[in-house]
């Protein structure tokens, strides 16, 4: 499967194959060049998915994953770019695929990764005045404390919020 994807030298730093899925690891400088190459030369014309994975506590911490699909070749490929927490800025792929627009807004909203060159960088799922980026690992999942026998009185006295 990986031999179907011929990439010019130097664009991809490492190619992983896991469970039959090809992942091309790429640096931030090369990502747009690689995506353009894949779209125009290799016919990966559909951006199925673009999202972020928080690899906390590993550093660099954020992995931006692009899931591409080629309708004519019926193949998938994944492009992975790592970003560090202190420099969480990524180039925008909105010039290549139109649906990258909302996907990048979602990543910005939930992970706080800023996209350069995005036409409309604002929150999409959460209210505009929300503070923080909830899908980062340091944000706890639960907001309300569950009631058990040991904390019955405390919870009865009022709803306890974990984050607020």
């Amino acid at each position: 499967m990986s031999d179907l994807i011929n990439i010019p030298d130097g664009l991809v730093s490492k190619t992983d194959v896991f469970r039959g899925e090809v992942t091309l690891n790429v640096t931030r400088e090369n990502v747009i060049a690689l995506l353009t190459h894949l779209r125009d030369e290799q016919k990966f014309d559909m951006l199925t998915d673009e999202t972020c994975v928080d690899y906390h506590p590993r550093e660099p911490r954020f992995g931006i994953l692009y899931q591409l699909y080629s309708v004519s070749r019926n193949t998938r490929v994944r492009v992975k770019m790592m970003l560090s927490e202190h420099d969480a800025v990524a180039p925008s792929a909105t010039g290549l695929w139109k649906n990258a627009n909302w996907m990048e807004r979602e990543v910005y909203d939930l992970f706080g990764i800023h996209y350069e060159g995005h036409p409309d960088m604002r929150r999409i799922l959460l209210p505009n005045d929300y503070v923080g980026h909830p899908l980062r690992k340091e944000i706890p999942v639960a907001v309300e404390e569950n009631q058990f026998s040991f904390n019955r009185e405390r919870v009865d006295a009022g709803k306890i919020y974990v984050t607020e």
Partner: protein, 428 residues
């Protein structure tokens, strides 16, 4: 008398634009980038549609810029049903996560389960018994019909064919009876498990599915009689909301929306999962990519689903319904009585869950709305590091500004209905 503008643009202290008493979730600078200058001077009307609107299929807000009745700009605002499902999944074991997936695309819960279980099985390299695969196919196709029925009911209701709603919801109850018989729940069945099914199907399953196969063709013919050549219906749908094949691909549209534009991409055919390659079926295609073609594709899919169900039911093999890999699936109840090992497996599975190897997999299925994919990232523990749900509606909804540009305000309803969005899946 000077008419009062529908939207008064003024900035509130936190920089958000207010419209009369309601606050739009957008600042003036952001608004300026999205609408034409005429809207800011009041020459074009800015109209807020939703989130509580009968025709937005849930809680979708559209900010419309209108010149008379013509739509100049349409700005969707989503997130009113954002549930944090992806975050919650990170705190659940893999098995515990299945019921949450039901609540993303709540019109096709079993297909969501299939995607999630498929992703786990791919990650764990678990083989699903052939009987379980066939039952999954039958139920997934019934779910697709369920999804299309609700779509047809609400879409027709929006356009003005009220009776379709009553007919479709009547037929839907038959499908819900099947889900209820296998799992006990009407809608949120959570019937699939990693490695197979929760239990084998009861004896009432086959008669109920046979009844569906018997009754549905006549009912679908009835719908066709009502709508297919109906001049009012065609007037509202033909030539409205046209999208070309190239644009649809670039927007990442999938499912009947993409096939309405003539692109032959169906995950069931392209990358068969759960033994879909054992069955014969066609992929209906449109040509014009308008509302009518998308409607045609979906209605044709009813017949194809019935074809698949019939084949799967006729060929349904006997055998186990869940894998015998004890690391993933629990041992049968009777074994726990005498086998210490089984007891340990059972205990470990229900307390800690199983550990998945570290890595990332993407598994996609064809849902009623298009490609429904699960990106599963595992850190080697019994809980996923990250689950991302790639939903078809999320990509399809992005085309709405382009589809509705230049059409009349009444057509917004037809266009939004035709791309078949479920806000639970868009917002997750």
């Amino acid at each position: 008398m000077q008419p009062e503008p529908a939207l008064i643009i003024e900035e509130s202290p936190n920089n958000l634009v207010t419209a009369k008493d309601a606050q739009l979730d957008i600042t003036l600078d952001q608004l300026k980038k999205l609408v034409s200058p005429r809207a800011l001077t009041g020459e074009n009307m800015l109209l807020n549609m939703g989130p509580q609107h009968p025709s937005t299929h849930g809680v979708l807000r559209l900010l419309l810029e209108l010149d008379g009745e013509t739509v100049i700009n349409c700005i969707p605002d989503i997130g009113f049903l954002h549930t944090g499902i992806e975050k919650t999944l990170e705190s659940k074991t893999y098995t515990q996560g299945i019921p949450l997936l039901d609540r993303t695309d709540y019109l096709a819960p079993l297909i969501n389960n299939l995607a999630f279980c498929g992703a786990i099985e791919k990650l764990m390299e678990v083989e699903v018994p052939i009987r379980a695969q066939y039952i999954r196919v039958i139920l997934a196709e019934l779910t697709r019909m369920n999804s299309h029925l609700v779509w047809l009911a609400t879409h027709a209701l929006d356009i003005g064919a009220m009776s379709m709603f009553l007919y479709c919801m009547r037929e839907r109850e038959m499908l819900l009876d099947v889900f209820e018989c296998v799992s006990g729940a009407r809608m949120m069945s959570s019937y699939f498990r990693p490695g197979g099914l929760w239990r084998d199907v009861p004896s009432t399953f086959e008669p109920l599915v046979r009844k569906v196969l018997e009754v549905f063709p006549g009912r679908i013919a009835e719908y066709e009689k009502l709508l297919k050549e109906n001049p009012l219906w065609k007037e509202r749908t033909v030539g409205i909301g046209v999208i070309s094949a190239a644009d649809a691909i670039n927007y990442g549209m999938t499912g009947p929306c993409l096939r309405g534009s003539g692109v032959n991409y169906d995950v069931r055919k392209a990358m068969p999962y759960s033994s879909y390659d054992h069955f014969e079926f066609d992929v209906p295609l449109g040509t014009n990519g308008d509302v009518y073609d998308r409607y045609r594709c979906r209605v044709e899919e009813f017949n194809q689903s019935l074809r698949i169900i019939k084949q799967a039911l006729d060929k349904l093999p006997a055998g186990p319904f869940v894998t015998d890999d004890r690391k993933v699936a629990p041992p049968p109840k009777h074994e726990i009585g005498y086998s210490m090992e089984s007891l340990i497996h059972h205990f470990k599975l229900w307390t800690e869950g199983f550990r998945a190897p570290e890595g990332e997999v993407y598994f996609a299925v064809e849902s009623g709305k298009g490609e429904y994919g699960i990106l599963l990232s595992s850190d080697g523990s019994s809980r996923p590091r990250r689950v991302h749900i790639r939903s078809a509606s999320f990509s399809s909804l992005q085309t709405l500004p382009q589809l509705s540009k230049g059409c009349l305000i009444a057509d917004i309803v037809a266009v939004a209905g035709s791309i078949d969005i479920v806000l639970g899946e868009v917002d997750r």
